[in-house]
Amino acid sequence: MKAVYFAWVRERIGKNEEEIAPPAEVATVGELVAWLAGRGENYAYAFDKPQVIRVAIDRAHAARDARIAGAKEIAFFPPMTGG
């Protein structure tokens, strides 16, 4: 699946997007955030307050218990500040 990052999550990780292949036991959004946080210092920094990070599956907001199976694109970003 494709992971995409926005705002300071993108800056901290140092990438706009990448292909990721989490192991099968990573089933939910919450588990995916925890798995990503363990991928290196830049990821640990981006996800150091994991509860703050918002996640969207295929361009729709997703809760922490949402299942990621079948997702094509998962986005990670800070709380939104539009308008």
């Binding site: 969207a56 939104m80 500040t81 308008g83």
Partner: protein, 152 residues
């Protein structure tokens, strides 16, 4: 029915309003809101607005559909800009046409509350002195405002 645009270009609020009401005889109210980039007491040099292409349009369209389900409306236009904006620049336009002002005001307010908290846009501020800059933090007030409308 609603029109949603996410664009770098500026917009003409008066023209957007006219487009909503042109040739319509049943419209008695047009609520038109424009959000602008303020200078934060002279400190702000620019705002950079980042967005999630595709999701931004989809989320705004979802809010427009929700407004249409809640009130009898005769037209909605939402325009949100991205890119580098300076103090005085327009950021967002929300126009709602209805028979009476109550629905028009309420729908415009709901749409703005939604844009603040659910539409994937992020602002980064650059200050006049150039040294201080950072991502604008989400406000708890905005979340509280949005919660008035219930689950969107």
């Amino acid at each position: 029915m609603g029109a949603v645009r996410v664009q770098a270009e500026d917009f003409d609020a008066a023209a957007e309003g006219r487009a909503l009401t042109a040739g319509r005889r049943e419209i008695g109210a047009l609520a038109s809101f424009v959000g602008l980039c303020r200078d934060e007491g002279g400190r702000l040099a620019a705002l950079e607005i980042e967005h999630y292409p595709g999701m931004a349009e989809a989320e705004i369209a979802r809010a427009v559909a929700e407004a249409e389900a809640r009130w009898l409306l005769y037209g909605i236009t939402v325009v949100h800009r991205f890119g580098t904006l300076r103090p005085g620049d327009q950021i967002v336009y929300v126009g709602v046409a209805a028979a009476h002002r109550g629905e028009a005001f309420a729908a415009a307010e709901m749409l703005m509350d939604f844009l603040k908290t659910r539409a994937p846009f992020w602002k980064r501020a650059t200050c006049i002195d150039g040294a201080v800059e950072g991502w604008v933090e989400a406000k708890a007030d905005d979340d509280a405002q949005a919660e008035r409308w219930g689950e969107l």
